[in-house]
Amino acid sequence: MKSQLETNHKLANDKAVTRAEQIQKDLWPRKFGLYGKIWVGVLLVIFITGTVCYIDQIRNGLHITGLGNYATWGIYISNFVFFVAISLVGSLISAILKLAKVPWRTPLTRISEMIAIAAIIFAGLVIIVDMGRPDRVMNIILYARLQSPITWDVIVISTYLAISILFLYMPLLPDLAIMRDRFKGIPAWQHKLYKRMALGWNNGPKQKLILAKSEKMLAILIIPVAFGIHTVTSWLFATTVRPGWDSSNFGPYFVSGAFMVGAGAVIAAMYIFRKFYKLENYFTDFHFDKMGKLLVLLSLIYLYFNINEYFVPAYKMKSIESEHIEALFTGAYAPMFWSVQILGMIIPIIVLLFKKGRKPKPMFIIAILVIIGAWFKRYLIVIPTLAHPLIPTDRVQEKWLHYGPTFAEWAITGATLAGALLIITALVRFFPIIPMEEIIEEGEIENNSKDS
């Protein structure tokens, strides 16, 4: 009887070892194939083109853009708001779902943190791009006025970046140790990198305890900071009295929109990595289904805030607001406004309500619609309000009335988007997209519970 038990135990152990090895084999970072190289090449071309345009902007000033005395914030700032929004996904998946003990979140945590870090780095850089005198960037800190929401934004963005980096790095420690010990056939520098970064991790109980505590602390810490980052960004607009921005609804309106686009970004990334890295066993239909339901919930919340944001001023039609509302509903911005609302919000809600709509392929298309819609939504938040100033200039130049981004602006904005994708690509090239150790451990727990 005893020997039978020992044999069973040995078999179970062998099974676990084989499973662990399979997981590691599936999730090792890989060299890029042809598609990967083309992807990196295209991103580099876009990035370099934008960089050249930015050098031109530094040399010749902001007049190479379409910005003027009315539209002082153009697509640079709408792009900034987009980046800040998308970065909130880190806190949604890694923190909120972790604290809610949602079991299916494990494979999604790493990729969501990578997206968050890439987005928040470029959110900071885009602000510098928008400056006429980037050499004076340190003045924001040296001469900061604590009364200004801009100062709050600088503080909260740098804080969020720091926490996000920790939130990516700390759960990576066990995986780094696995790669240090078992990842063969890699260059010496790469091995050295893993060794250094793994900090002598040996899966010891004390180390595990410290890590678990730290991760929990980070999860609690990141939620108010994440809410803070996008609420403060919304206050950059809402603390003015301009039509379209003068709203007490702006904080939750921005935060809910951010969670929605963040979830969209994770779904798109899940689909791409599942397809090209053959991760069907990790990003399963079940995960897509769950993420689909989450996206519906977030979209409905965002829809609710949208109704509040547009219905109330449209019902009152105060003279100062009416011009702005009419420009959005029936005026020059109407095609973009209705496309964004219908394609980027209503259709995703309808499609994702059905089980068939929550399959990987339709989910990917919906996620792309959500992301594109979210980018143009930020454009609609920033630009139309600027075109209708409270105190219009006497005998204003015609070109100030109509903002249109120049090629340089598109190229620079494209470069920031490409840059963020390059960061994610580089991280994916050297680190596992899915937390290996956590998946192995969860499997062990599952097996043990089955055995018992």
């Binding site: 001469y143 006025r145 604590l146 790095y169 002598g200 410290i210 505590k213 980070l218 810490l221």
Partner: protein, 306 residues
Amino acid sequence: MKLIFKIQYKQATKLFFTLLLIGSVFSSTTYAQENDQKKKVRLSLDYNNTNNITRQLVTIVKTKIGRSYRGVSNTEVYFYLNQKSESNLLGVSTSNNKGVAVLDISKAIAKIVDSTFTFTFITAIENNSDYLNKSKKITIQESKFELNLIEKDSSYTAQIMLSTSSPTQAVLPLEDVNVKLYVERMFGDLLISEGHESTNENGVINFDFPSDLPGKEDGNLTIIAKLEDDDDYGTLVAKTDMAWGVPLIINEKLDERELWTARANTPIYLLVLINGMILGVWGSIAYIILQIFKIRKLGKLEKLTV
């Protein structure tokens, strides 16, 4: 033999004249090119007299760049009295980044005693490596420009007097000259007069001065009389400080700790709140970073134990 010599002589003569022609064409082209490389300039010349004490000659040097004329910087401008000669040189001034060259001639004028007190001033660009020679001449009748501020029965009057100025001849009032009255403000001078008034037969004009203009903290205003850019007298300015303004009361709210004030006056509650939050969050971040070092230390210890 003779024939050969003749042919050679003819050829040599032809060659000589051909070379001479080419040489002359080439040298004239070079000369023309040198001159072509130099740019043309435009000069203006103004004579400024402030409070009958400071006298300046002001020249603006401009050249055509693209379709518009722009100031030429760092260029030497020569100023002469009556005629261009070394003995008549008043001085040399270098133009600034807007192309303006200014020469103070207060001392030079004071030394000259002349019955008419009429001067011809010449400004010139000479022997400049980048610009062609150019000069401009103006003739100015030296005059006396006075501003008297009269306060009577709590009403204010600014009186401007204009007359000829000569150390040897009788002073004559200057009639029918357009003068203006201004008050100095932060970003420019505010016109107080209508702008079209002229002196009477006594060379005098009186302006009622408003009593409700905001002044400095002590009520002081800088009142300025101007005769602007006159062909005969140049630009004459007379300015005086007088406490005819409403004393400025500085809003003490700006010194209080409020949301709209400067960074030095941040409200205490905001300072405490924001710094408290920064300390709380960054303190936690520092604690977590400390845990990273702890993990590292544990890794090293356990390695040693093994």
